[in-house]
């Protein structure tokens, strides 16, 4: 079981995923605002496939059939939020099925999965349907740069002039991109909600964003001002969405504060390195998965440092 989940039980899981589902209504509203009813249909298809897969998996492994597990609903909805609105329905369906059947159920459910299922589902879709997952030509009309997403502009190294009005469009989500993750202002609002409900969970997010900002300052992808690079990087793709919804995941996140900080920093460094060097427009889910995989090693490495290790071991060191 992932360390962060050891203290969680069924009721706290409902509470936690209840919070996350409540927060997810905000990007859902954004998606509906910009992309219309089709975005909600994509969400419905994704959530339904995740829930049905969970139920079928319960039948296959002879366990209690899990109807309406909030973890599965969250997984399906989060995957849909990172897709473009014009995506064929089968793509989020496959991604949700993969997330639940391969990442969630085999490890024992939402509380024991060592990886964020939604991140794994989106990564799977990115590998299998990369031409569709990053195709933002359908859906958004009257956006700032037409059908060109910020991520693709940054990948191609095209410098973007961002004036005052452009900044409002970008942080408001009026650019081509994933249907639910574009509005940075609402992501910040979600983060504030999380700050009130679970302040410790945001520690990883803060270090994640801080390292991303540092990487933008050190390795800008376009020849423009720091402000332009920063706004473009943070608002492109699903970076802020992942910072709020995936990096703060209570199951895969470390327990200790110092571990949370390092976990978030590693995740941010991997994400920005993959953006700089990788082949995919939005690699944040791969970064989250890699950070999930490295988390036990990070935990043990940090715990072996006397200053950050257990009190008992420090006493032992003194006694020696």
């Amino acid at each position: 079981m992932a360390n962060g989940a050891e203290k969680l039980n069924k009721s706290s899981t409902r509470s936690i995923y209840g919070d996350y589902l409540l927060m997810l209504t905000v990007p859902c509203f954004t998606a509906y605002w910009y992309y219309g009813v089709r975005s909600l249909l994509v969400v419905a298809a994704s959530v339904a496939s995740a829930v049905i897969t969970d139920m079928l998996a319960g039948i296959v492994i002879n366990k209690k059939i899990n109807t309406g597990d909030p973890g599965s609903i969250f997984t399906g909805a989060a995957i849909a939020m990172m897709m473009p609105s014009g995506i064929p329905y089968y793509v989020p369906v496959f991604a949700s099925v993969f997330a639940v059947a391969v990442v969630k159920v085999p490890f024992g459910g939402s509380l024991k999965a060592p990886f964020v299922p939604a991140a794994a589902g989106f990564a799977f879709a990115s590998v299998c349907f990369s031409d569709k997952v990053f195709d933002y030509t359908a859906g958004l009309r009257g956006s700032l740069f037409g059908a060109t997403s910020l991520g693709s502009m940054l990948m191609s190294g095209r410098a973007v002039y961002i004036g005052e009005s452009s900044v409002y469009d970008i942080v408001g989500g009026n650019v081509a991109g994933p249907m639910g993750t574009g509005c940075a202002l609402l992501m910040v609002a979600c983060a504030f909600y999380l700050l009130i409900r679970r302040p410790k969970a945001l520690v990883s997010s803060v270090s994640f964003i801080a390292v991303c900002v540092l990487m933008v300052a050190l390795f800008p992808r376009v020849t423009a001002s720091f402000r332009t690079n920063l706004v473009s990087e943070l608002c492109s793709g699903s970076l802020l969405f992942a910072a709020v919804f995936f990096v703060t995941d209570p199951v895969t996140q470390p327990e200790k504060i110092i571990n949370k900080i390092i976990y978030g920093a590693v995740c941010g460094a991997i994400c920005m390195a993959m953006r700089l060097l990788g082949a995919y427009e939005e690699p944040v889910c791969f970064a989250v998965l890699l950070a999930n995989a490295f988390r036990p090693i990070l935990d043990s490495a940090i715990n072996n440092i006397p200053q950050f290790g257990k009190k008992a071991s420090r006493k032992e060191v003194r006694a020696e």
Binding site: Y90, F94, V127, C128
Partner: protein, 263 residues
Amino acid sequence: MNNSISFIDALKKGAVRYNPVLVQLVGLCPVIAASTTFIQAVILSAAMCAELLVISVIANVLMKNLPRWIRMPLYLLVGLAIVCPVLYWFEAYSLSGISLGMKIYLPLTAINSVVAVHCEQVAVKSDLKLTVYDAAASGIGGTAIFLLTGAVREILGYSTFAGVRLNLPVTLKGMTLPFGCLIFLGFLAAGLKKILPSAENVQTEIPSDKIKEEPQAETADIVPEEEHKADGTADVFGIDENELEDFLKTVGIDLNSEEGSAQ
């Protein structure tokens, strides 16, 4: 497994209960990297079966009295002698359907861990009949998984089967990548474990009357839990604990001294 063992029994044990890929987890590298299509899986499994059978028989007939450190390179040499002609045939005819990855991984079957494990566990300890049965059963078990994996990956990943287009509405490119194969093998292994009866109810060891004594200086490659020494230590990878201590002392590590353990 007794003297009158039938091939069916050997097949059940070698191909299903101790399937080389799903249970023993040996030979994973070629199957993951090279079995992306059915044709490649056929070539790979044919090479593995031929090599396993020939080397097992040679090991049984000629290598029983050799020390283990000589046997292991001999497996490699015999394996290369079998695989090299096939490779030259590939090169000579430049088979267009065979990918570069396949050409790289075919030589690796010469040093296949399936071969090493079965030769060391069975061939040099048993009679010829049991050796042939074990090699054939393991080859069939491995081949079944190779072919199934190759077929599923090709159908889902390329929407073709043995090069014939199937025109499926959706293809999952991830299945052609190593992670897709690992996930598929994981589900296959879980399914096999689910359908098999519990291991405690099945006799697993070769009876002592079928196992011939090895040279005293050599130890088995893989040490089962029950073969631990009386003092609780085990000869890991054929290295005696005293020899290990002597070796560590030569490089400046003394396990018995407190300073050494602190280091």
